[in-house]
């Protein structure tokens, strides 16, 4: 810490970068100028500061002129800061006492035809860097211990897969399932496409592996009641059905709570006619072999899904499930006519596209309808159901008298999800499913470190897709647990409790829930969770928050220096 107290002795290393900078900016002049700046104890020019030679020059400089601040004026910190920081560290200068002036990407290259002005700008940029450097404070990246155990919430196929993979990597896993048995949605399913094997087969195998694995603690008929702490150090309270609560510590948490199926009460005569059923009910009938040969079956897709508002999303698996079950019916009773009334048939990828063709080959009939003109299911006088649908691609009404109508309904979020999301402070998306940190590149992380999501809790998907994610989180969660100790961001916010009035503005603003009010009502930053954006500092009504390494003073000093109002 004392290095901040002592008088700043700044070393400035100006890079020619071949002729990239040297060809435009008058480097020698800049070097000379740097020497005149307050706090600068030494300055030199290098051909390539980033070359191994340049690096050793920096180290020498630090030793020879016992510098306690270093500025490199060269390219962009985005690519090179870490390199130079490392150099400083190796020479005994705290990595946060380093500052960079970008005189290539944002100066020589951008002003190639104005050498004088570019040189002036380079000087300013170095003056600004120096102004900040003088105010830099050494920072330590805090380290935290990570409890090498994970909590998996949800004992479906996804949860079990994650649990097994983590256990095999040597971590202790607690898996919490609300039902008395593991297995989740898979327990309701019959045969699985593409290899048409019984769902129960895969389940029993995995169940076996779960039992035999000593690192996994299975808690069935149980629910997570409370979660406190942060990555590496979560305190979990689980309540069993018998009311007994148990507490344990984990380093990471995986949300694999799955989804449930929408029940289309009052739609297409569901709940009114006994032979209007859901796809899931059909699955059960087939599973139990209770389906009696129907003459004509009509399946209606997108029932309660892809609506104008409300459930606007596509449930992804319904079309392929319908195709699969249609095939199974055809197998059982080949002369049954089957109609699938769809809007856009979501049979994607390789095997599903083939499944669609197989169904066509089996003579299953497909009729496209549009949201504006949904089919109608009415009971005909002979007691059979009459389905009227407008064939969107022939613009003709088609009447199908059928003895079984199957409704494909979407997967929807569990009721329990809302409570869980608040408990873990992880968001739910507009579609009700858990919302990841970044849709594109962090699909299975939450913005909150140490908590991950997989399977249908994230969005509807099939088994292979769920398992890809389940294995994915097994990697994401393993990372902090494998390294055991976690270095976290040093550029964090700190609250001056004398100034904080406890208004809570920052608490609401922080995208990472890194700020909480303590018992005194004062805002406290959990620095290991803070990512250092500084929005809180810029908004704190009492200006009680300091954003380390980007303090008001440091930024202002740069601004003033830029304006030539540099205070010596």
């Amino acid at each position: 810490m004392e290095s901040s107290e002592e008088v700043p002795r700044i070393g400035v290393f100006v890079c020619h970068c071949g002729i990239n900078i040297g060809g435009v900016v008058d480097v020698p002049e800049v070097v000379e100028y740097s020497k005149t700046l307050p706090g600068v104890a030494y300055a030199e020019g290098n051909l390539y500061t980033c070359s191994s030679e340049g690096i050793s020059k920096i180290k020498e400089g630090i030793a020879k002129h016992n510098l306690n601040r270093v500025i490199v004026a060269s390219c962009t910190p985005r690519t090179h800061e870490p390199l130079f920081r490392a150099a400083c560290e190796e020479a005994g200068v705290n990595r946060y006492l380093f500052e960079m002036a970008n005189i290539r990407d944002q100066c020589s290259w951008a002003h190639m035809h104005e050498p004088e002005k570019a040189t002036e700008k380079a000087k300013d940029l170095i003056r600004m860097a120096a102004a900040k450097a003088r105010l830099l404070k050494p920072l330590e990246e805090p380290e935290i211990d990570v409890t090498p155990s994970a909590l998996v919430i949800g004992g479906g196929i996804s949860g079990m897969t994650s649990a097994l993979c983590l256990a095999n990597q040597g971590f202790k896993v607690y898996i919490v399932e609300k039902e008395p048995k593991l297995g989740g949605m898979l327990r309701n399913l019959n045969k699985l496409y593409p290899n048409m094997e019984d769902a129960s087969e895969g389940l029993s195998q995995i169940a076996k592996r779960m039992k035999s694995n000593k690192k996994i603690k299975v808690l069935t008929s149980a629910a997570v009641k409370q979660v406190k702490g942060f990555i590496g150090n979560f305190e979990v309270t689980v309540e069993k059905a018998n009311g007994k609560a148990m507490n344990f510590e984990v380093g990471t948490i995986i949300v694999a709570t799955g989804a449930t199926v929408f029940e289309p009460v009052g739609m297409y005569g569901y709940g009114e006619h006994e032979n209007v059923i859901t796809q899931l009910q059909l699955e059960q009938l087939l599973k139990k072999g209770q389906l009696k040969k129907p003459k004509k079956v009509v399946m209606i897709q997108c029932v309660g899904a892809r609506e104008e508002k409300g459930r606007t999303y596509c449930s992804r698996i319904c079309c392929t499930t319908a195709l699969k079950n249609a095939m199974l019916i055809k197998e059982k009773c080949p002369d049954t006519d089957i109609y699938i009334l769809f809007r856009d048939l979501q049979a994607y990828g390789t095997h599903y596209e083939d499944l669609h063709r197989m169904a066509q080959g089996k003579g299953i009939k497909f009729i496209k309808y549009v949201l504006e003109k949904p089919p109608q299911v009415i009971r005909g006088e002979n007691g059979r159901l009459m389905v009227n649908v407008c064939h969107a691609l022939l613009d003709e009404q088609v009447k199908i008298s059928s003895d079984l109508v199957v409704l494909s309904t979407p997967l929807i979020q569990q009721e329990s999800a809302k409570e869980l999301s608040q408990m873990l402070k992880v968001p739910l998306g507009p579609d009700g499913f858990f919302f990841e940190a970044h849709v594109k590149l962090r699909p299975i992380d939450f913005a909150t470190d140490g908590i991950y999501v997989c399977g249908t809790a994230h969005s509807p998907k099939d088994i292979a897709e769920s398992l890809s994610q389940a294995l994915g989180v097994a990697s994401r969660a393993a990372i902090p647990m494998a390294v055991k100790r976690l270095k976290v961001e040093a550029i964090t916010a700190v609250v001056d409790e004398n100034l904080c009035s406890g208004c809570g503005t920052c608490v609401k603003l922080c995208p990472y829930n890194a700020i909480q009010k303590d018992e005194k009502g004062i805002a406290r930053v959990t620095s290991v969770v803070c990512k250092g954006c500084g929005t809180c500092a810029a908004s704190c009504p009492e200006r009680a928050i300091t954003m380390q390494h980007f303090t008001d003073e440091q930024i202002m000093a740069q601004a003033l220096a830029a304006l030539g109002r540099c205070v010596a």
Partner: protein, 258 residues
């Protein structure tokens, strides 16, 4: 000699700063006038700092962040947008040219766009000429106003409002009632003018004790309103009646402890 604008740019590290780099990498030329300060997020740019920059003689300030939705910190850029709405409202009250301040989104792949932006902004500032606070005959009142604005921008009230805008408008208040953007803006506008006037009052009475009458003259508001502010400021311990001249009390500033 021709006027060379002094422009300070605050660029977010993840998108805009990278975009500026790309402009260089692609050798796209733009005026040298801008001096870039790297911040981690545009949300970090405190209105107070921006105003300070103006008060210290910058002819223009350009703040750029990631495009909405791209923010590395999820929503930082939305917050900066809100702060800027307040900032603009404040500056509008001072007579200082609004065109000297600009908030833009520049992504990491928009090198050309960054260069164009700088070109265009520099030209704009060139047209506006040197900052009225810092040309050959600086305008003292304007400086006064800017100082007042800066003080207002630092005020608890405005900062709370900006900080809470999102939650108030999108999540609802403690009673779970949502505020429409219009309602909120109404509240905000009112707060902006009040805080501005109060800051002005404070700065005036800091020089010399003044009467409500005098204040209403200088601020050119009716004395009733001036009094309303004085009352509010007394409650906040910003001013006190120092002495009474005849029947009219004169008010003086109190040192504010932070």
């Amino acid at each position: 000699m021709t006027f060379e604008p002094r422009i300070v740019g605050f660029l977010c590290n993840w998108c805009s700063y990278a975009g500026a780099d790309l402009a260089g990498v692609s050798r796209i030329q733009y005026p040298t006038n801008i001096r870039i300060i790297r911040v981690m997020c545009s949300g970090r740019v405190d209105p107070v700092i921006v105003l300070e920059t103006f008060i210290n003689g910058s002819d223009g300030v350009l703040v750029t962040g990631c495009h909405p939705g791209d923010c590395h910190y999820i929503v930082g850029n939305f917050h900066s947008e809100r702060k800027f709405r307040m900032l603009k409202k404040l500056i509008a009250l001072t007579g200082f040219e609004q065109g000297r301040l600009r908030l833009e989104w520049v992504s990491a792949s928009e090198g050309a766009r960054f260069a164009d932006l700088v070109k265009e902004f520099t030209e704009q500032i060139r047209k506006l000429g040197p900052s009225p606070l810092f040309n050959e005959n600086p305008n003292p009142n304007l400086l006064e106003n800017m100082l007042a604005v800066q003080m207002a921008a630092a005020s608890f009230r405005l900062r709370v409002l900006v900080g809470r805008e999102k939650s108030l408008v999108e999540e609802g208040n403690v009673y779970g009632e949502k505020m429409s953007q219009e309602e909120f803006d109404k509240v905000m506008d009112e707060a902006v003018t009040n805080e501005y006037l109060r800051s002005k009052i404070y700065l005036m009475v800091k020089k010399e004790p003044l009467s409500v009458k005098e204040l209403s003259k200088r601020l050119d508001v009716d004395s009733q309103e001036a009094l309303r502010h004085i009352v509010a400021m007394r409650r906040r311990g910003m001013v006190t009646a120092s002495r009474v001249e005849g029947a009219t009390p004169l008010y003086a500033a109190l040192e504010m402890i932070r």
